[in-house]
């Protein structure tokens, strides 16, 4: 896969995290609500009296089930919008709106084509679907992706378009929904022709499965997983579950068709001594996969996340794993790696097939209402007894699956450096960014700012500078601004910047530009972001060159070990280059960062030991338990204070725990008698291949993640 393709895929994956975050809770609602309001289940266990229709528990479970279901039913549009938001470079809200519009239009176009050509009835079973109320083709999340990607492409291309004066009202961001709407009329028509043949091909695969025994079962499982992202799995497995494709049986004197129907008919028939494996072969495989395998994958993703982000991803992964285990709803977990690491998904599909095959082989006869979580395993396996179901094989195979998933996923994630949740280094402050940004700025200044940037610069100047601007918006023709100090606004400058008029009322300033205003606003926002955005960050989508190189490096080298060090002091953190001392700033004494202390206590940044306390008491040598040598140097030139202003609380050789007090600094005294309080915190003896990253700039508390040392292991 080429680099840019890979980069785009990773961005798609990242953009999916937004809608994915809602899935675990929706999954739990649907899984619990669905199982306990399922009439077949209630009848089987004689619970109808307590929890059947009409009872209060039933009301609660039904509402839960519906509330969860609506999210899954509308996943396609959620993904359309989520991808558009994630992939749009600027003006993301416009992309979201355009995605919703494009999604409606595409399905409306498909729907129109369907009804013109004979209605939904002529389509193969399972091919049609109700999409946000539109009778259309079942395209699943794939349909949403198609919209999200296309819309974000059009958006990034056109959101700053300038149209001729007559049409200029429709320029800029307003053009995006328009062009998307038109484009997706065409896409919808095309999909009507392209999609059904794909669906038909899939349903033909069913015949092959039935004819080929264990291999067929394996293939069934593989296909079912592989089709999930495309929403085509329903076309594939519904025939097995619900029609004669999945087998026919005579139970209690009546003919029953379809694997799931056979299972539930047997469940209701007291004479059955063993459930028909010929039917459950299309179901039982989900149990080891969902209760054991996928949670193993989640654990692997957690273990391979960057240490400082483990906490952040643990919530997502834990809830997704629990959802999978409990309810058998796997999308929350699968989607976390599907898009960032398709290879993992491929492995997952192969293993899924094998799970079905093993269950078939061991003659396990456990069915399910709709998925293979603990709830269904308990109801249809454990409660039925091992005699009838052979369910004991599930935990046995499951334990192997858990290990297999954990080991395989851990290995592959590290080997290929997949950006599974919590591994994306781009989302953090970095040591080099500030320097890169400054270089970039200098270059831009040299090459001469573009006309638009010049205009933006003038507008900002006319408004009294960036600091004076508290809010920015626009209507049809005017830029509406709120300023802090109205006196700083200079109408003359604004008019040089192309304004045809300026209206000022108190803190509100309206600058009249005519219909081009949306373009001007976008340019101004882009300008402000690039010019004075939060320091250390670059415009979206551009990784600093150093980082790119590092990424490349990390792909060729194998493993990376990261050690995170907390801040020794509460105060303001900044890059080492900020140190007001050339020796420190240039890294002569080591790599690291600086803190301007706001609290008098210097604490141990990690578990470790005290290598030395310098006689002048202003510097402490520290050795982490991993063997990283650190120098905590309080203030600049503080060696000259000869120990005054410092009170040491430890001795050379002491073992300390993270957070233990090491040194008390008289901040008043030191700031009066030394050139600066800025305190370098350094790694003095890094070897080649070790890199330091600054994790946080600005206010930081003692103990908070501060620096990370990455060691590449060959």
């Amino acid at each position: 896969m080429n680099n840019s393709g890979f980069g785009i895929l990773q961005r798609v994956g990242r953009s999916f995290m937004l809608p994915i975050a809602i899935l675990p809770v929706a999954g739990l609602l649907l899984g619990i609500g669905g199982s306990f309001s399922n009439t077949t289940m209630l009848e089987t266990y004689g619970l109808t009296r307590f929890m059947g229709p009409g009872t209060i528990p039933n009301v609660i479970f039904t509402v839960m089930s519906k509330a969860g279901d609506i999210v899954f039913a509308n996943l396609p549009i959620l993904f359309a919008m989520g991808v558009a938001i994630g992939m749009a470079k600027k003006e993301k809200e416009v992309a979201a709106l355009a995605a919703a519009i494009a999604f409606f239009i595409m399905h409306a176009a498909i729907s129109a084509m369907i009804s013109i050509n004979g209605g939904i009835k002529v389509l193969p079973a399972g091919a049609g679907a109700d999409v946000v109320g539109i009778p259309s083709l079942q395209m699943g999340v794939f349909g949403g992706m198609l919209v999200g990607l296309g819309v974000s492409y059009l958006h990034n291309r056109f959101y700053r378009i300038e149209l001729p004066q007559v049409l200029s009202f429709f320029g800029g961001t307003r053009f995006v929904p328009i062009i998307c709407a038109l484009a997706y009329v065409v896409v919808g028509i095309l999909m009507y022709f392209i999609w059904p043949p794909v669906q038909t091909a899939i349903s033909h695969v069913g015949g092959f499965v039935l004819r080929s025994g264990y291999l067929g079962t394996w293939f069934y499982g593989l296909m079912e997983r592989a089709l999930i992202p495309f929403g085509l799995h329903h076309v594939f497995y519904i025939p097995f579950w619900q029609t004669a494709v999945g087998g026919t049986a005579e139970i209690g004197g009546r003919i029953v068709e379809g694997a799931q129907n056979i299972f539930f008919a047997e469940l209701a028939e007291p004479d059955v001594t063993r459930f028909a494996v010929s039917a459950t072969r299309f179901m039982s495989g989900k149990f080891p996969l969902m209760i054991f395998g996928l949670p193993g994958a989640a654990l692997a993703m957690y273990r391979t996340a960057l240490p400082e982000r483990k906490r952040a991803v643990s919530g997502l992964l834990l809830s997704a794993a629990l959802t999978s285990m409990l309810t058998g709803i796997t999308e929350p977990l699968e989607f976390t790696f599907l898009f960032v690491a398709p290879l993992l998904y491929a492995v997952h599909c192969v293993l899924a097939g094998a799970a079905y095959m093993l269950m078939h082989f061991f003659q396990v006869g456990v069915g399910m209402t709709f998925s293979g979580g603990l709830i269904d395993l308990f109801l249809f396996g454990v409660l039925q007894g091992n005699q009838k179901t052979g369910w004991l094989w599930i935990p046995v195979v499951g334990a192997v699956y858990f290990l297999l998933y954990y080991v395989l996923f851990s290995f592959l994630i590290c080997r290929f450096d997949f950006m599974t949740p919590g591994r994306d280094r781009n989302q953090e402050a970095k040591l080099y960014t500030r320097k890169d940004l400054e270089e970039k700025r200098a270059e831009e200044e040299k090459s001469g700012a573009s006309r638009k940037d010049e205009q933006s610069r003038l507008i900002l100047q006319g408004l009294g500078g960036r600091e004076n601007l508290s809010d920015l918006d626009c209507c049809a023709t005017r830029l509406r601004c709120t300023v802090v100090d109205p006196k700083k606004v200079d109408e003359g400058v604004l008019k040089t910047a192309g304004a045809s008029g300026v209206i000022q009322k108190g803190q509100g300033v309206q600058i009249i530009y005519g219909p081009r205003v949306t373009v001007i606003k976008s340019a101004l926002e882009a300008y402000m972001e690039q010019e004075g955005g939060p320091e250390g960050s670059l415009p979206a989508g551009e990784a600093p060159p150093a980082e790119k190189e590092a990424d490349k490096e990390s792909r060729t080298k194998k493993k990376r070990k990261t050690i995170v060090i907390g801040s020794p002091i509460t105060g303001m953190a900044a890059a080492l280059s900020e140190a007001p001392d050339e020796g420190f700033a240039q890294g002569l004494m080591g790599q690291g960062a600086v803190i301007t202390p706001e609290d008098p206590i210097v604490r141990a940044p990690a578990d470790g030991s005290i290598s030395f306390v310098f006689p002048a008491r202003h510097a402490i040598g520290f050795m982490t338990k991993e063997g990283l040598a650190m120098l905590i140097h309080v203030g600049i030139d503080t060696v000259k204070l000869g120990g005054n202003g410092f009170k040491v609380m430890v001795q050379e050789g002491d073992r300390v725990k993270k957070g233990d007090s090491l040194l008390r600094v008289n901040l008043d005294f030191v700031s009066k008698h030394a050139p600066s309080l800025v305190s370098p915190v350094l790694f003095t003896e890094l070897s080649e291949g070790q890199r330091v990253r600054l994790l946080k700039e600005g206010p930081i508390r003692a103990g908070e993640a501060f620096l990370a040392v990455e060691t590449e292991e060959l």
Binding site: G583, M589, G621, T684
Partner: protein, 87 residues
Amino acid sequence: MLVKEFRYTITDKIGIHARPAGELAKLTKEFQSRVKIRAGEKEAAAGRLMAVMALGIRNGQEIVVTAEGPDEERAAERLEEFFRNNL
């Protein structure tokens, strides 16, 4: 085995602190020879900033600097010059 060595008494009034230790470490890395500093009973590799700082060398203290390796002559010369100019 030949080892190049010289003695030096620190004249800098605050001794070897972070910056000179850093400069010393940097200078030492230019040579292939192993350079050590002995102060009293303690000894440290001159290339390791932390080790040198841990010696806590003060004004008036006498140290022994040794260099051992292919370029020990030049190393000792340059180091002596460094100490004289800076410490």
